[in-house]
Subunit: 281 residues, 4 copies
Amino acid sequence: MEREGAFVEESELLKYGNAGGFARDLACAQAGDLALLVGPDRRWQILRLEPGQTAQTHRGVLAHDDLIGRPWGSTVLSHMGQPFLLLRPSLHDLILRLRRTTQIVYPKEAGYILLKMNIGPGCRVVEAGTGSGALTAVLAHAVRPNGRVYSYEIRPEMQHLARRNLERLGLADVVEFKERDIAQGFDETGVDAVFLDLPNPWDYLEQAYAALVNGGYLGSLLPTANQVTRLLAALESPKWGLVEVEEILLRPYKAVSARFRPEDRMVAHTGFLIFARALVE
Amino acid sequence: MEREGAFVEESELLKYGNAGGFARDLACAQAGDLALLVGPDRRWQILRLEPGQTAQTHRGVLAHDDLIGRPWGSTVLSHMGQPFLLLRPSLHDLILRLRRTTQIVYPKEAGYILLKMNIGPGCRVVEAGTGSGALTAVLAHAVRPNGRVYSYEIRPEMQHLARRNLERLGLADVVEFKERDIAQGFDETGVDAVFLDLPNPWDYLEQAYAALVNGGYLGSLLPTANQVTRLLAALESPKWGLVEVEEILLRPYKAVSARFRPEDRMVAHTGFLIFARALVE
Amino acid sequence: MEREGAFVEESELLKYGNAGGFARDLACAQAGDLALLVGPDRRWQILRLEPGQTAQTHRGVLAHDDLIGRPWGSTVLSHMGQPFLLLRPSLHDLILRLRRTTQIVYPKEAGYILLKMNIGPGCRVVEAGTGSGALTAVLAHAVRPNGRVYSYEIRPEMQHLARRNLERLGLADVVEFKERDIAQGFDETGVDAVFLDLPNPWDYLEQAYAALVNGGYLGSLLPTANQVTRLLAALESPKWGLVEVEEILLRPYKAVSARFRPEDRMVAHTGFLIFARALVE
Amino acid sequence: MEREGAFVEESELLKYGNAGGFARDLACAQAGDLALLVGPDRRWQILRLEPGQTAQTHRGVLAHDDLIGRPWGSTVLSHMGQPFLLLRPSLHDLILRLRRTTQIVYPKEAGYILLKMNIGPGCRVVEAGTGSGALTAVLAHAVRPNGRVYSYEIRPEMQHLARRNLERLGLADVVEFKERDIAQGFDETGVDAVFLDLPNPWDYLEQAYAALVNGGYLGSLLPTANQVTRLLAALESPKWGLVEVEEILLRPYKAVSARFRPEDRMVAHTGFLIFARALVE
């Protein structure tokens, strides 16, 4: 089995069955792996393990050579004696730390988008614009191995950044990047879903409709109510149906048994999610 | 490509390329397909299209024979002249209408669970208990084609229901159902994630730990604060780290351009999500 | 001391000091009092106690004569043996059960409006329109005994209803009802606060400005985002400053010690609160 | 009429009626007044105007002598030419800037507490502990002129701070401060409401019950779910009824007409509100 990405290689590493009881083999961090380092204050970073390198943290330095070969889930001490957890990063973690120059679609929205737009293995999905590639990564992860993401972006430097992010995540193989003004339309037809992640989606509804299979899913994420009302007006057409607007709020709690309570502050808004389905007129 | 489920077969149906411009072929509903029927008041039902059958609605009767052969996304009139949308159901829709005898994990939580626990194509996931199979379906959909869901349930009639639900959704092939008291432990080791969807997860942490790969993901969904504090106490152990508690709130809006506003009422609580990672002691 | 309202008469009834320890006299329900009856299923009603009358409930009948003379806080049995709590209603309870033909300002918003607009004893406040009088009642309660509420309403039948509601609550003495189209302006000047509880407040900003003391408070409650953006546009003027938009959400919990959790459903929206202050140009 | 507080003196200042039309007299800032200064970045401070003094801000210096005599609602320039709004502070503003050493009850909760516990002019209310006096101030403001707040606190330095805060706000005349361990009980009986603003209210329910009129209101504000379940257990007694737990969330919006949207971040938790009523056993 070929490695498909940085975050699904556990199976490769488990070469032996367990003898019995609750014992188990220990998968270990290897040179070239992406690693998540979490300090005692819960501050975390993601790094690619490379022999000879060092990781700088607010609680001391760690040598990559001390991390390579360690079982995932181990605690490692910095040169200041501070304990750090060594873990594989999830796609969730990786997205939050993408190199980016734009606002990104957050995991709380991304997971819901997948389910709401029925995106899974084998799906063909159009996305515009690519941005820093956060949603691209979630879509690519979900449609593998035999699906396809077509990601359009008009700004070359942005697409370049996204492409490198996807390569770093091992997800570039199911993505076709297209540097294009989507006013000219999409190349694809009959796609399962189109996600418009740009500030003026109402300008591209014809193009999205042309790309979608009949009954297919349209989605968008917009920060302001003004944009939403404008998109809703454009969707009041016989071409579109089942229009929905929703917001996802994530409320974090202090995970302390003796003092369980919501966190003092939270992210209060990332955007309004708009969904619709392409009808046959 | 073999048909894997009711909701990814669009590609099969698109037999011809598009001639050009914004024209397109129309995929049509066929006998045996699952269909979503949405009435003028947004009330909806899911049915399997069978020649000779009829669908009863509050706004009149529709003959399946009038639906079979129609393009998805069409509007069909009931015998009372009321317009109904004919659409493919999404996994999201299907889950909300599963035959069930238990509380289910809702899409707003399910999508987030996937991202947070890094569940995607190729993953091996343990779930207990199976319940009505809603989360089982989301997990199965996400790990296809080469992943695996091991779903444990102690109540035979429940597992029977879930098995039928998964078969109906075309997702049973990646699921292994096990009728078992998980106090005895799980058969699997080195799995990527364990989700404990039962009222007393603190009783099964040892078993979950034994099943997980080192660094693997534990998740649970609990309705009351009392349960959360009890689980948090049990997770205060060197075996577990990065413990988090979160809540997902979905706020629906009235999707009307001229009067955009939140809906009057919303679901205020389904449960608290708890996540942790298995450490090496 | 004259009785000023149904809900502040406790002091009248406490005629004797306590002898000592934790003993106390018991204030009793009297003919003419407003009473709150709460059944075993938490369903409640408000009634005025009148000798010879009966209260019909889903759990049986209670004779007013069995309630009159009972201490507040007593449990009384219906003819079916079901226990009912006999309590004085709060202004909060009374507002929720006002006779009404309009949407009302809810207590969660009303309490915040008082603090945000600095409304307390002695204040002079203009309100338009009166509606069913729910906010009028809260304002009147707060400005007593020497403040004043000027409540404008163009629909005579509405003002008639509100007037009767306020009389029933014993709060009419600090309210001046005016049946008027406020396009003509308000009679008052130098008032501390103006609350515009009508669908098009942007049409009356000049009138509100003229009525307010310099630096005074403007408030409004609007259900849709479209209305809010329109009001915000009108407030982008040197006459107004410190413009704020806020929303108050009330999340109810199941008050059960062993199963503490949020309620399943909640009111998700009543309206957006908009506040501003009148500046000197 | 005697001045009762810093924030209801508008009526004093309006010595002349308006000549007609929309003209009006301008109430002016005077030496000794509390003033709210709001800078161009919305940062604000509260100060007492004193001849010869200066106000330091991040955008330059303002001389109090330039503020005294100006109409409220005026724009004043700092020595750097930056515009500042000169306004009377509301009780809401004053509370948020109280000198404090403790967590305070926020206006979003305080306003709701007033309505829920039926606290208005003429009420007698017991509070423990006093803390920095924020809730004391709201209660005092609401019960004036003929009500009474009895505020208990065991820490002398805390009560000293609260007393000075209340004096500064001109509200001390309706408050009786008592330095006392409330385990010994309250001096008052037959009070309308008792608010327990301390971490272990379950230890003082007997004392609260003894102080309350029959049917009276108990309230508390607790940060953690653990405290709430403990208080709920103690309230499961025939002495208490209509127990409710609620949470108030304040969602702020960007007040910009062309880009109306919720703020990015918000306060996610201050505490759970618990209410109950004293029954007759």
